[in-house]
């Protein structure tokens, strides 16, 4: 027998503070609380640390402790290692997990420091001087044919590929309707509109409620092709082909049938209650030339008016793959690092497959430059961008812009409990249960997400100003403004940064 494992969390209710209002009972979707006569009964085993009860308790009566009773400590046989074995010994199955990589890899971002001006050049004050963060995503010509007409007017003879103009280099990444709720989608779409940026639909199609925001939407074409038809493609401001995802490189996706309600069935164009399975590869893309064909096909279908992005997971060979993508008509490559979040992924993939976004962006930017094709492709970094510092560092390493996913969810209340795949999100985000979805108020949540984007944009402007840079393109790939702190020589070479003090 294996028996009960030590509970992960212990919830306690302070009887002195508790006024038995029952808000915790109402709010907990996992059944931790119940009424037991005139007191609250707690079943800590059901707790996911989603903090909904704590956030709703008017008396601060609830406290939560992680690992109240632990195993004998052992550096190799960690709690996680042991519990995975108990779990699999019982079930014989693949372990599913939510959110991003949970292993204790060092975050490279935290070992890079940014630069600021002192004396030899003046830092700029964004309150007094313009600092430009407007970014254009898409192919750009390597050179221009500009002729001077008689009379001095300049004539542009080069035809430019349409670019996506974003007012800030922060976009909201692809999280599908299905994985998250319609209210979550609505909130983010409104925030994108308010802040002059874009959001991805994910592979869930575009719900009719989002049509008013279609000019801010990047529609996704993934291996399941759910929700894809010409109407969908034409509504988006850009199209993204999803090859892979940082949380689970090399595998597809699976939306369980129980989540496929009437609305989702309509949006994804699949029968109600049926599992939505996205295969690991696109079955019409078995090579780089097949990808180029699909890019061309999508461009053709939309009359070459829309930028097409290709999203790949950051894997070992990411730079060469990006160079291949640059040779197609694609406009941008999205690189999703191994810290990228997910509603559900096999834990072994989430924690062990792929490489960090910092190294991936640096090597992609370098490879494209070495081949003289950097203007052919914009680079969008995603996967684990936690704040404006990560954003600035990603751009200095070579990214044009970033996608945020988890950060946008957190702005709506998500506590990163990692139980998205259970569909019971008490915050109304990763759930389709109408009563839970109703908890997320799009008026409020859209404001929170917009605030987050604005705040990061302000901080980015300050960082640029301090570095004496008044336009974001002068930070892009500017590794000279980064220094590695406690990074090894090999990694610094990949990142093309010098160490602190050098």
């Amino acid at each position: 027998m294996i028996g009960s494992l030590p509970p992960r969390y212990r919830i306690s209710v302070d009887p002195v503070r508790c006024m038995e209002c029952g808000r915790c009972i109402e709010n907990c979707a996992y059944g931790v609380f119940s009424r037991d006569g005139d007191r609250i009964f707690v079943n800590s085993r059901n707790c996911t640390a989603c903090h909904r009860c704590i956030a709703c308790c008017p008396r601060d009566a609830i406290s939560l402790e992680e690992h109240p009773c632990d195993y004998r400590s052992h550096p190799l046989w960690t709690r996680e290692a042991r519990e995975a074995i108990y779990n699999q010994a019982r079930t014989g199955k693949i372990i599913l997990a939510g959110m991003g990589n949970a292993l204790d890899y060092p975050a490279i971002f935290d070992r890079l420091v940014l630069d600021a001006c002192q004396v030899t050049n003046p830092s700029l004050d964004p309150l007094r001087e313009p600092i430009e963060v407007t970014t254009h995503l898409g192919k750009k010509p390597a050179s221009l044919d500009l002729r001077r007409r008689e009379g001095g007017d300049v004539e542009l003879r080069t035809r430019l590929t349409p670019n996506l103009r974003i007012e800030t280099p922060i976009m909201i990444g692809h999280m599908s309707y299905g994985a998250i709720s319609l209210n979550a989608h609505l909130s983010m779409a409104r925030a994108a509109k308010e802040t002059g940026t874009f959001m991805g639909t994910g592979e869930g199609g575009l719900h009719a409620a989002l049509h008013p925001y279609q000019d801010q939407m990047i529609v996704q074409v993934a291996s399941g092709r759910f929700g894809v038809n010409i109407d969908y493609l034409e509504r988006g401001a850009a199209i993204e082909i999803k090859i892979g995802q940082g949380a689970k490189p090399g595998i597809g996706g699976h939306l369980p049938g129980e989540k496929v309600c009437a609305d989702i069935s309509r949006t994804r164009m699949i029968p109600e209650g049926s599992d939505a399975i996205s295969p690991a590869p696109h079955h019409d893309i078995y090579s780089i030339e097949d990808l180029a064909q699909l890019v061309r096909g999508l461009k053709e279908a939309t009359e070459w008016k829309k930028p097409v992005f290709v999203k790949i997971a950051a894997v070992h060979n990411v730079a060469a793959i990006a160079a291949g993508i640059a040779r197609s008509p694609a406009d941008a490559v999205v690189i999703d690092g191994f810290r990228g979040g997910t509603g559900a992924a096999p834990m072994v993939f989430r924690d062990h497959v792929g490489i960090p976004i910092e190294a991936a962006v640096a090597s992609v930017d370098k490879k494209l430059r070495d081949q003289g094709i950097r203007n052919e492709l914009s680079v969008i970094a995603s996967g684990g961008i936690r704040g404006s510092a990560d954003l600035a560092k990603a751009i200095a390493l070579g990214a044009d812009a970033v996608y945020i996913g988890t950060a946008a969810l957190v702005a709506m209340g998500c506590r990163v409990c990692g139980n998205c795949y259970r569909g019971l999100c008490p915050w109304g985000i990763a759930t389709q249960r109408p009563d839970l979805v109703a908890r997320l108020n799009p008026d409020e949540a859209s404001n929170q997400v917009a605030n987050l984007i604005r705040a990061w944009t302000l901080e980015l402007s300050e960082l640029l100003g301090a570095a004496g840079i008044n336009s974001i393109e002068s930070l892009r790939g500017n590794r000279d403004r980064l220094r590695g702190y406690m990074l090894d020589e090999g990694l610094m070479q990949v990142l093309d940064v010098r160490g602190v003090g050098a």
């Binding site: 750009k140 500009l146 080069t158 430019l160 930070l475």
Partner: protein, 382 residues
């Protein structure tokens, strides 16, 4: 037409002026309040009447407060009429006996050395000669398939990247750069620049923070026909360098200014842009301003920003650059470094300080301070 970025094209230029100087320009963003680091000056005679180096020496020494005695240099156009068809390669040898044979054989592979000699110098007490300056008059082999300029620029990149004790710091026709570590007067006297007659002169008084003492780090920087002097610090250097290196240039001078020479070479020679458009790409209008332009103008200005985003230079700078036909001056789009322009008869002056211009030409008229990012372009006639 009050935009900040319309280039001023001098009436003394051969082409129709897009905009002449207004009678007066406000001193906004002018020279007095910005911090001091490096003094620059350029002078051009539009009718190619030559001046010897004594005037510019005098002018540059007026800005000694902007220097630290660790670097100065001069570039002069029209000084080698006897070899006007040859590329004049100025070289620093660490050790002539050891390094010269290597360079000789490299040059012989690529073409013919018409003549070579030590650049005449005169020992100065205040200047320690750490290199031996040499000059070659070189003709690329016409049987090589590539254009002459391509051959010479590739040669310069290769020799300088190899770091075998030879650094080619000047490679144009009928022009030469003279630079060293020291005060402007010492450097001028060391090279006896009063013995040279040029119709365009650029000069630079250096306050180095990056590579003090190293002669290669002194200005002007030159590649083929273009020479550059620069006061400032390019905060976008990391971006600019990686961009320019993706076109086959190699940055070897350990200082930010060399990328300017290469960027101008890329845009003007290789991409065929007019110089005012190249300058506009380096210090472009803000998006907000582009948004207010009429449609056609907006379109090409946007295109310029998109295509040359990584060429755009950030940080405080004032730059004077020249080739055989023109001299240009421009600042960063916030004008964080001073730039003053003066005219006198056929001569155009661009400098960090009015005093420097006046030292060279007491009769100077119409001293002006162009607005931020507004280029000043003077062309020689014929």
């Amino acid at each position: 037409m009050e935009g900040n970025f319309l280039p001023i094209v001098f009436i003394l230029s051969g082409i129709t002026p897009i905009r002449a100087f207004p009678d007066c320009l406000e001193a906004e963003g002018g020279g007095s309040t910005v911090m001091t680091m490096c003094g620059i000056i350029g002078v051009m005679d539009k009718s190619r009447r030559t001046m010897d180096g004594s005037g510019i020496r005098q002018a540059l020494s007026m800005m000694n407060e902007r220097g630290s005695g660790e670097g100065a240099g001069y570039a002069a156009y029209g000084i080698y009429p006897d070899y006007r068809d040859c590329y004049a390669l100025h070289v620093f040898f660490d050790d002539v006996h050891e390094n010269k044979p290597l360079l000789d054989s490299a040059l012989a592979q690529w073409g013919t050395i018409e003549h070579d000699e030590a650049i005449p110098t005169c020992d100065r007490p205040g200047l320690r000669a750490v290199h031996t300056p040499w000059r070659y008059f070189f003709k690329p082999d016409p049987s090589l398939a590539a254009p002459e300029d391509e051959i010479v620029s590739a040669l310069v990149m290769q020799v300088n990247a190899a770091r075998r004790g030879a650094l080619i710091f000047s490679s144009g026709k009928d022009l030469g750069v003279f630079k060293a570590g020291g005060w402007p007067e010492d450097v001028a006297d060391f090279y006896r620049i009063e013995d040279y007659e040029g119709y365009i002169w650029l000069a630079h008084n250096r306050y180095p923070t990056n590579t003090p003492g190293w002669w290669g780090g002194a200005h002007p920087f030159n590649l083929l026909d273009w020479s550059v002097v620069h006061n400032g610090e390019i905060t976008s250097y990391g971006t600019n360098r990686r961009y320019i290196e993706s076109f086959g240039y190699t940055c070897t001078m350990f200082t930010d200014t060399e990328v300017i020479a290469y960027l101008i070479d890329l845009m003007v020679r290789r991409h065929g842009l007019d110089i005012d458009l190249a300058v506009r790409a380096l210090a472009p209008p803000f998006w907000e301003e582009i948004g207010r332009m009429p449609a056609a103008e907006r379109e090409w200005n946007s295109a310029l920003r998109l295509a040359y985003a990584s060429a755009m230079m950030n940080g405080p700078f004032a730059i004077v650059a020249a080739n055989r036909d023109m001299m240009i001056g421009f600042t960063d789009r916030g004008k964080l470094r001073p730039m003053v322009v003066g005219e006198c008869d056929d001569r155009l002056y661009i400098s960090s300080e009015e005093a420097a211009i006046r030292a060279m030409e007491p009769r100077v008229e119409s001293i002006r301070m162009p607005a931020a990012g507004e280029p000043v372009i003077g062309r020689v006639i014929a």
